[in-house]
Amino acid sequence: MMKDVHCISQLSAFVDRELPKEEQREIAEHLLICAECRLEHDRLKFAAGLASHLEHRDAPPSVWTAVEIGLDGKTHNPHGSRRTWVRFPVLAGFAGAAVFLCAFGFLAYFALFTGEPFQANLPANSSGLPPRTAGSVEPVDPNAVPANSVIALDPVNANSNIAVTAPAANAPQLPQRQYFEFETLAGAPKVGSRSTATNLVVGDVLETDAVSKARIEIADIGNVEILPNSKVKLVGTNPKQHRLALDRGSLHAKISAPPRLFFVDTPSATAVDLGCEYTLEVDEKGSSSLHVTSGFVAMERDGREAIVPAGAMCLTRRGKGLGTPFSADTSPAFRRALEHFDFGGGGSQAIDEMLTNKNFYDIISLWHLLSRVKRDDRERVFEALVQYVRLPPEVTKDGIIALNRKMLEAWREEVERAWFE
């Protein structure tokens, strides 16, 4: 499987989306678990992003004139006298060298045959440089803020609303769209007080009522359907990330892009696209529910992360953080027990309920629980999971109970394989 093998040699093709769909998916999955490849991927993607700024331009009219003259059998240079075999700068260089040699010979002659050092009649400015004029270039103050500085979205500041910051001095002004287009699917969605808008500019809030729906085009990477009774804000968009904030309601995102390009902030966590399709809901209290239907999504909060694969869900509660991912097909009893454990302080009692009601689909939750439960409960969770997913040869029970990182990683791959199979 691709997941086990570095894929550095294929990363350009991956970034350029030149691989078959299956290989694209395998590499995307590998990137989730391999920091080395992910780092290389980020570098290549950065280079590819810059290269996509290359310009397309029309040739000036003089070129056609030159072609016509060439066709008539005459030689013609569309831009004057540039095309000389030895160009002016070359001649200037040779001339300079010749002058230098003559001067050197002259000085040598004086020194050797007159016995006196040569004294040139220098001007008052003894540096020999021409005097500074009004048009001369002054030294640049490195701390001066250039006049063309722009205020740009800070792409690093997660969970921000419109975080703005002055960019580094000398930062270039990039040609980029600061808005998304959207279309009305039903009713009359509103952007601020504008009910006829078709663009969502950075900072704009789009609201739908009980009967309205809209679809936002997320640059060229996919789209997001805003479902009824929702309120969503465009936090920022640039080549490195596109960010929405869902304050309440629901959205359905369909994204086809390299991981970590599209983010949705909610009051209780951030959904990070890892190449996927998902539905995200936020209730009036700011708690959220994520259901992934394709690929992977990472839910993040305060440095913690839960990777949620296709077919799984994840809940978050405002003030209580991230819940444990669980199968969308799990039994109501298992789900109740898991919510009790995650948000109700259920502890060992909730684990008992889960283990009583578990089935194969709960391997995703059991895996996450290994590192979330107390050591006393971990062995029980281990025994439950090993019923469904075999231990790789290099992994031991003691290693898992001790939360040995390498062993956990090796078993996780088995869990993931079993999940997708």
């Binding site: 550095i8 040699s9 294929q10 990363l11 350009s12 093709a13 970034v15 350029d16 030149e18 570098r43 290549l44 950065f46 280079a47 590819a48 810059l50 290269a51 996509s52 700024h53 290359l54 310009e55 397309h56 331009r57 029309d58 040739a59 000036p60 003089s62 070129v63 056609w64 030159a66 072609v67 016509e68 060439g70 066709l71 569309p78 831009h79 540039r82 095309r83 030895v86 160009r87 700068p89 070359v90 200037a92 260089g93 640049v140 490195p142 250039p146 063309n148 960019p167 580094a168 001095a169 000398n170 930062a171 270039p172 002004q173 990039l174 040609p175 640039n238 080549p239 490195k240």
Partner: protein, 191 residues
Amino acid sequence: MEKRALTSNEPTTAELLDQCSRGDREAMHTFYVENQRCVFSIALNYFGGRREIAEDVTQKVFLKIFTNCSFRGDSKLSTWLYRVTVNACTDEARKLNRFVDLAGVLTFGEPKGGEVQQLMTESEEISGVVAAQIAKLRPKLRAPIVLKYVEGLSYNEIAEVLGCSIGTVASRMNRGHKQLAARLEHLRDAI
């Protein structure tokens, strides 16, 4: 490219090229108008935004097509035109390398660190900076990157133009991306 013959009155591209080879100046102009942007853009980015060289290359490409057309119809016209253009760029680059460009050595040299930032601020054109760095790549790495990002060709199409395998294109793209990333690393924070 190759968008002709949408109506029955218009000649196909092959017919147009045939008319060109028989000296029909109007057909030549039509062909030029349809294809000059692609040829000029490839040359412009291949030579790091140096317009004079790009104009020369464009002129040579069309003169070659009109006076000594080698299109045999065994590939798509666009593939053939890209190939002629890339070959003309390669030839021109070889000629330029025959003598040292004293203009570059004496006036600019290799901009480093803050100088690059300063140059960028002056030009306010990131594409110019990127093109300048692409022009420093070896021709083998430069051509596929220009074809990919200027013309939007797939690896398969690039392989056809360059007469190599897709694997070779992927490998060259990988090396080109790596070198570009290293040379443009200083832009990361700025962007």
